[in-house]
């Protein structure tokens, strides 16, 4: 008796858990859809911006822009670690934390002083628990980062980079390859890695010879104002956009990882229910068999 009741209790509890994980899976699926749309929507802007900067950028101009400054040795670097605010996403946050720790170790091994900036509750909680200091924390962004969030995140780091207080800025984020594949990755935000210059521009004239390989035509762009002034404004846009892409990819990856985790939780709960109900039925059957045997035995004793 006691055994069947215990089994019934467990079956009920697992069924309720499965209901929750199944709901979370469905919620993640719909959030994933929206988040991956944002990743896709961010692509045309990123491509065009990179394209234009690639055209404008002259290697000789490098020295003149603080954002392109490339110090001989990195003395001080900042690592921005993106994690999610919520858990129950499988190994998602653990992977990001591991990646961030590996990067910090590597940089410290090269003799660089490293400061870590935490974004997202999960990563912050980990480092707080380990009693390792974080230079700044941010839990406001969540899974809906905007270009302004990216700007607010980068602005202080960029200012310090321009003043020469920081030599490198990295971001640890989750790549969104597909809903199933969300490996952690590292992007170097500063100094700017110039997007592969598809074309080459010359000098600071207001006319820049420029060759477009795709169409095979040569265009003489009129620049307003000068190339230098345009670059001055576009480089910060590029920096912000790198961070923005990291934010939206991480958000999409979070939902993908959570959906995968919740799907396997739901599947596992189903498997457990199967085994448990089989055990329960066997126990119930055994009890009935035993009762019949007792009745038959009792009746036989009366004869």
């Amino acid at each position: 008796m006691a055994k069947t009741r215990e089994l019934r209790r467990r079956i009920r509890s697992i069924r309720k858990t499965r209901q929750i994980t199944r709901t979370m899976e469905m919620v993640s699926t719909s959030k994933l859809k929206r988040a991956s749309d944002r990743v896709t929507a961010a692509r045309p802007y990123a491509r065009q911006l990179g394209d234009v900067i690639g055209r404008l950028l002259d290697p000789e101009l490098r020295e003149r822009y603080p954002l392109l400054r490339r110090p001989a040795a990195a003395r001080r670097a900042a690592v921005v670690m993106l994690t999610s605010n919520r858990g129950l996403a499988g190994a998602f946050n653990v992977n990001l934390i591991k990646e961030a720790r590996a990067l910090v170790e590597r940089l410290r091994g090269q003799g660089t002083e490293v400061e870590l900036h935490g974004v997202g509750r999960k990563g912050i909680a980990y480092f707080r628990f380990r009693k390792e200091p974080l230079a700044s924390t941010n839990t406001e962004i969540g899974d809906h980062g905007t270009i302004d969030d990216a700007g607010a995140l980068m602005q202080p780091l960029q200012a310090r980079f321009e003043r020469g207080e920081l030599d490198e800025v990295y971001v640890v984020y989750a790549q969104f390859r597909s809903a199933m594949s969300t490996p952690p990755g590292v992007l170097k935000v500063l100094p700017i890695e110039p997007p592969s210059a598809a074309a080459h521009t010359h000098g600071g004239q207001h006319l820049a010879p420029d060759q477009d390989e795709e169409n095979g035509w040569i265009a003489n762009y009129a620049l307003s104002p000068s190339a230098e002034q345009i670059l001055d404004r576009l480089l910060p846009l590029y920096v912000r956009n790198v961070m923005y892409r990291a934010l939206v990819e991480t958000a999409a990856a979070e939902h993908g990882a959570r959906r995968t985790a919740m799907k396997s939780a739901t599947d596992n709960a189903g498997d457990m229910l199967d085994t448990l109900s089989r055990t329960y039925n066997r126990a119930r059957q055994a009890q009935i068999t035993q009762e019949i045997a007792e009745i038959v035995g009792g009746a036989a004793a009366l004869e």
Partner: protein
């Protein structure tokens, strides 16, 4: 062979606000408004704050723009702006 119209796209990091053909684009450049018609010389200009107007066959589309830039080449007009929203 030139396309009969301008091909215009208005892109922000969060979305592509407009993509299609148009007869004329008037954009708020950093130093004043700039109008682009078919056959415009290749141009790369910084944008200021103001309203971007795209005149298409189905009427005029208006966007509020703050910052970003405008690129014109080969009758393709690309407007990139971090802060672009539909509306006057």
């Amino acid at each position: 062979m030139k396309a009969p119209h301008l091909r215009v796209s208005v892109v922000s990091p969060e979305s592509t606000l407009y993509e299609g053909e148009a007869d004329m684009v008037v954009a708020p450049a950093w130093d004043g408004e700039v109008g682009v018609l078919r056959g415009h010389a290749p141009l790369l200009a910084l944008l200021g704050e103001g309203s971007l107007r795209v005149r298409a066959a189905d009427g005029e589309h208006r966007f509020r723009i703050a910052g970003g830039f405008l690129q014109v080449a080969n009758d393709v007009v690309t407007v990139l702006s971090e802060h672009a929203t539909a509306g006057p």
